[in-house]
C-alpha cells in the first residue's frame, strides 16, 4: 500500500553512518535532493528500530542545509543525511510530518527559524517564538489557538504563570463539562536564545556553564552531552576517572529527580504522607551532590576534558551509606503508596497514551518506555561506562499515569543497583591528565545521553577555523509535550495536574 519506494541497506550511502559521541568531516555528509532526502528518512522511520534524534537547518548564506539524524537502535548507529534548500525561492516543500508525525516539532522549528514553508504539514504553528525567528511580525501574545465554535463547549486557559513554583507555559483546554476534548500547549516563554549563546560565548567554561543551564533538573544529562560532544570534536578520549564520575552522576540525578517526582505525584492527588516522605528522601540524594561538588543539582561537576571533583573511595563509602539509608525507607513508603486503593484509583487508566500513539508521535525516554516502546540511549547507543553495567531497559505497557509512576520506582531501584555495582571499582585519580586541544575544523559531531526524562541530543558543526558554526540542542521534552496533550483527551480536567506531573516535561529544555 505504500506508494513510496522503500529504502533498504543499499541506500545507506545516501547518508553517512556514525556512532554516538563521534565527529566526522562535514563534507562526508551527503547532500541529497530534497525529495530523496525526504524519502529515505521517512521510509526508515516507519520501522520501529529507527527514530529521529535531531533534525535542523544550518544557514549558509541564502541557502539552508537541512541535516537529519536518525538513530538505528538495533545497530547502535546514527544515520546522518542532508539536503540544501533555498526557503526564499521555493515555498512548496512536502513535509516529513505528513508521512510521520514524529517530525512535527522539528519542522515547526525549521519553519519558524528558516522560513521554509510546507504544503502539507498538519500543524504548522510557531514553536517557541525564538528571538531570531524569520517572521518577526508574529508575537507570542497572538498564538493561533485551535478553536471550536460551540454553545456546549467551553475553553479553559491556564498560564503562562501557573499556580505552583513551576516554569511558564500556556495550556488551552476545550472541554465538554468536566471532560477534556482537546488540549493545546503553547510554549516559548522560557526562550533564552541558548543555541545562539553557544556561538557568541566563546570560552569553554562559558559553554559548559550554558550546557548546565539548559534545564536545571537535567544538569548532568545536558552537561554530559556537551562534554562528550566537545571531546569528540577535539579528538579527546576521556579517561576512566572522568567516565566513572559522569556515569555515577547520571544515575544519582535519575534517582533524585524520580524521587522528587514521586513526591509531586503524591502532592497532586492530595496524598500528604507520600508527598512528605518522598520529598524528604530526595534531600540526602541531592545533598550527596553537594558533598561531592558543592552544588545540590551538580552544577560545576562535569567539564570537558577535566574535573575538579574526583570520585574518591571516601565518596564511594558515603554514597553506599546514602543508598543504605534511602532504600528501606523508600521501599516502605512505596509499598504503602502503591497498595493504597485511593491512590491507585487516581493513577490507573488516567492519562493513557497507547503504544501506537506513542510510536506515531515519536516519544522518547521514560514516557516511551511507560507505553511499551524501548527507547533508552544507555542500552542502544551506549556511552560512558554503561557497557560495564549491561543495562536492561525497564518497559511498562499501559501508558497511563500509573505506568509512568511505577517506572520511576523501578528505575530508582535499578539505578541504585547500578550504583552499588559500579562503586566497587572506583578508578584511581587520573594523573597527568591530557589537556584538550582545539576542536577540529569542519567537523560534525553528535552526542546522545539518556537523561532521567529521556534522550538528550547535542549536535555541533565547526567552521574552517575550528570555531562553532552551529550548535543544536534537543531536550527529550521536544518529543514528549505532544504526548501530554493527547494523553489528557477524554480525561477529567481535574486530572490534568496529575497527568502533567506524570510526564514532568521541561519548559526551558523545549524553549532553549
Amino acid at each position: 500500500m505504500n506508494p513510496y519506494k522503500v529504502y533498504g541497506p543499499s541506500d545507506m550511502m545516501r547518508g553517512v553512518t556514525m556512532k554516538n559521541n563521534t565527529a566526522i568531516p562535514v563534507k562526508e555528509i551527503p547532500v541529497l535532493q530534497y525529495e530523496d532526502f525526504l524519502e529515505m528518512n521517512c521510509s526508515l522511520i516507519g520501522e520501529e528500530t529507527h527514530h529521529c534524534v535531531n533534525y535542523f537547518g544550518v544557514h549558509y548564506g541564502n541557502s539552508v542545509r537541512l541535516i537529519c539524524c536518525l538513530a538505528d537502535d538495533k545497530d547502535a548507529t546514527l544515520l546522518i543525511s542532508s539536503a540544501e534548500i533555498n526557503p526564499e525561492e521555493a515555498t512548496n516543500y512536502p513535509s516529513f510530518t505528513a508521512r510521520h508525525l514524529s517530525f512535527h516539532a522539528f519542522e515547526r522549528e525549521l519553519c519558524e527559524n528558516t522560513g521554509i514553508s510546507y504544503i502539507d504539514h498538519p500543524w504548522l504553528k510557531p514553536l517557541r517564538y525564538a528571538f531570531n525567528r524569520k517572521n518577526q511580525g508574529e508575537g507570542i501574545e497572538n498564538y493561533p489557538f485551535y478553536e471550536i465554535k460551540s454553545e456546549e463547549l467551553h475553553e479553559v486557559g491556564v498560564g503562562p504563570i501557573h499556580a505552583g513554583i513551576i516554569e511558564p507555559g500556556h495550556f488551552r483546554f476545550i472541554c465538554n463539562g468536566e471532560q477534556i476534548l482537546h488540549l493545546e500547549i503553547q510554549l516559548g516563554y522560557q526562550h533564552r536564545g541558548i543555541e545562539s549563546l553557544f556561538l557568541t560565548k566563546k570560552r569553554l567554561l562559558q559553554r559548559a556553564t550554558l550546557s548546565e543551564s539548559i534545564a536545571g533538573d537535567s544538569v548532568v544529562g545536558h552537561a554530559l552531552a556537551f562534554a562528550n560532544l566537545w571531546e569528540s570534536l577535539c579528538g579527546y578520549e576521556p579517561d576512566e576517572d572522568l567516565q566513572f564520575a559522569r556515569t555515577v552522576a547520571s544515575e544519582i540525578e535519575r534517582i533524585a529527580i524520580h524521587t522528587g517526582d514521586l513526591s509531586a505525584i503524591c502532592t497532586d492527588i492530595g496524598y500528604q504522607l507520600g508527598s512528605a516522605v518522598f520529598g524528604r528522601l530526595r534531600t540526602p540524594v541531592i545533598n550527596f551532590f553537594q558533598e561531592w561538588c558543592g552544588n545540590r543539582l551538580a552544577k560545576g561537576l562535569i567539564r570537558p576534558g577535566n574535573s575538579h571533583f574526583h570520585f574518591s573511595s571516601h565518596l564511594g563509602n558515603h554514597l553506599k551509606k546514602v543508598l543504605d539509608d534511602y532504600e528501606p525507607d523508600f521501599d516502605e513508603m512505596w509499598k504503602e503508596f502503591h497498595t493504597l486503593p485511593t491512590a491507585l484509583g487516581r493513577l490507573e487508566k488516567t492519562g493513557v497514551i497507547s503504544r501506537d500513539l506513542s510510536a506515531s508521535i515519536g516519544t522518547v525516554g521514560m514516557t516511551a518506555r511507560a507505553s511499551g516502546i524501548m527507547r533508552d540511549i544507555r542500552t542502544t547507543h551506549s556511552y560512558g561506562l554503561y557497557n560495564l553495567l549491561t543495562p536492561i531497559s525497564i518497559v511498562k505497557h499501559h501508558g497511563d499515569v500509573y505506568s509512568r509512576t511505577k517506572i520511576r520506582h523501578d528505575e530508582i531501584v535499578q539505578s541504585s543497583y547500578y550504583l552499588r555495582k559500579i562503586i566497587g571499582r572506583i578508578p584511581s585519580v587520573a594523573v597527568n591528565r591530557r589537556s584538550l586541544s582545539a576542536p577540529a575544523h569542519e567537523r560534525f559531531a553528535i552526542s546522545l545521553t539518556e537523561g532521567w526524562r529521556g534522550e538528550i541530543c547535542h549536535c555541533a558543526i565547526t567552521d574552517n577555523k575550528g570555531e562553532l558554526l552551529h550548535y543544536k540542542v534537543k531536550d527529550p521534552s521536544l518529543h514528549n509535550w505532544l504526548a501530554l496533550a493527547l494523553a489528557v483527551r477524554n480525561n477529567e480536567i481535574s486530572d490534568f495536574p496529575i497527568c502533567n506531573k506524570s510526564f514532568d516535561l521541561s519548559y526551558c529544555g523545549h524553549d532553549l
Binding site: H191, D217, V219, R280
Partner: protein, 247 residues
C-alpha cells in the same frame, strides 16, 4: 511510618554538608589579574581592586581552583542582601554579607514580620532555582514555620519572587502578575540569572526592563539559590527592619 524528625531545627545556624561555595574571601596575594578576570564565565570578577560580584557569580569555583591563594569560598551561606552594591566582595575585605536595615521599607516589618505570602514567577528560569524554592517548603527546610509560604494567586500574595534571566516573552506576564498583587508588596530576585542575567547576560532574547522600573527589596544569589540562603535572607528582610505603617 517511622521517618523521625527530618526538619532542620535552627536554619540560622545550620551547617551545609560537604562543600559549599558561599561568601568568598579574596586575599591581597599578587596574581595574574588579567588571567583571573578572563577566567570567569560571567565576567563577575573585576580588577583594581580584585572583586567578585556575587550577583553575577555562578559559584562554579573555577577562580578558586586556579588561584587558590587568591580566592577562597567560605561555607557562609548568608549571602542575601537588599543592597546590590553589597554583593560585590573586594580583596582584603573580609566581612559577612548582610542586609542594610536602613534600606528596608517600613511597611515590610509592619505588615510582613509574622506572615509573608509570595508568588513565584519563573521568567526563563532553568528550573534549578524553582526546585530549590520548592524545597524551602519541604519537611527538611519547613519555611512555613516562619509564616513564609508560596501561594497560587497573586491576589493572595504580599510579594513576588522572580527567577530566571527575564525573557522577552515573559516581560508582559511578569508585569501583569506584579500588578495583580495588592500593595504593599515586595520584589525578591532569586538566583544569579535573575539578579544579573548570569550566563544569559547579553542575550537578545531577554527583556530586563521590569527591573529598572521597580525597586528590588532582596537579592538572593546562587546558581541555584540554596534554601538556607533564601530562608535566612527573607527572615532578615522581614525581621530586621523597623516597623511603621507610613511609607
Amino acid at each position: 511510618m517511622h521517618q523521625g524528625m527530618q526538619t532542620i531545627p535552627d536554619v540560622e545556624n545550620a551547617e551545609i554538608p560537604g562543600i559549599f561555595r558561599g561568601t568568598p574571601v579574596i586575599t591581597k596575594e599578587a596574581v595574574d589579574v588579567h588571567a583571573l578576570v578572563h577566567l570567569c564565565p560571567t565576567d563577575a570578577i573585576s580588577a583594581n581592586p580584585v572583586s567578585i560580584d556575587l550577583g553575577k557569580c555562578t559559584f562554579c569555583g573555577a577562580c578558586a581552583f586556579t588561584f587558590p591563594d587568591k580566592i577562597r569560598f567560605t561555607k557562609d551561606f548568608k549571602i542575601a542582601t537588599n543592597d546590590r552594591n553589597r554583593l560585590v566582595v573586594r580583596e582584603g575585605e573580609a566581612k559577612p554579607i548582610a542586609l542594610d536595615p536602613g534600606l528596608i521599607r517600613q511597611e515590610i516589618a509592619g505588615f510582613f514580620k509574622g506572615s509573608l505570602k509570595l508568588r513565584q514567577v519563573s521568567a526563563g528560569g532553568d528550573n534549578s532555582c524553582e526546585l530549590e524554592l520548592n524545597a524551602c517548603g519541604n519537611v527538611n527546610f519547613d519555611m512555613g514555620r516562619f509564616g513564609i509560604e508560596f501561594v497560587a494567586s497573586p491576589r493572595h500574595a504580599d510579594g513576588i519572587v522572580i527567577t530566571g534571566p527575564l525573557t522577552e516573552s515573559m516581560a508582559a506576564p511578569l508585569q501583569r502578575c506584579y500588578d495583580a498583587i495588592p500593595d504593599p508588596k515586595i520584589i525578591i530576585l532569586a538566583g544569579t540569572d535573575a539578579i544579573s542575567g548570569g550566563i544569559f547576560s547579553g542575550s537578545a532574547a531577554l527583556n530586563r526592563s521590569f527591573l529598572s522600573n521597580h525597586r528590588i527589596d532582596l537579592y538572593v544569589p546562587g546558581n541555584p539559590v540554596h534554601p538556607l540562603t533564601f530562608i535566612n535572607g527573607v527572615l532578615d528582610l522581614i525581621r530586621s527592619g523597623r516597623a511603621g505603617l507610613s511609607r
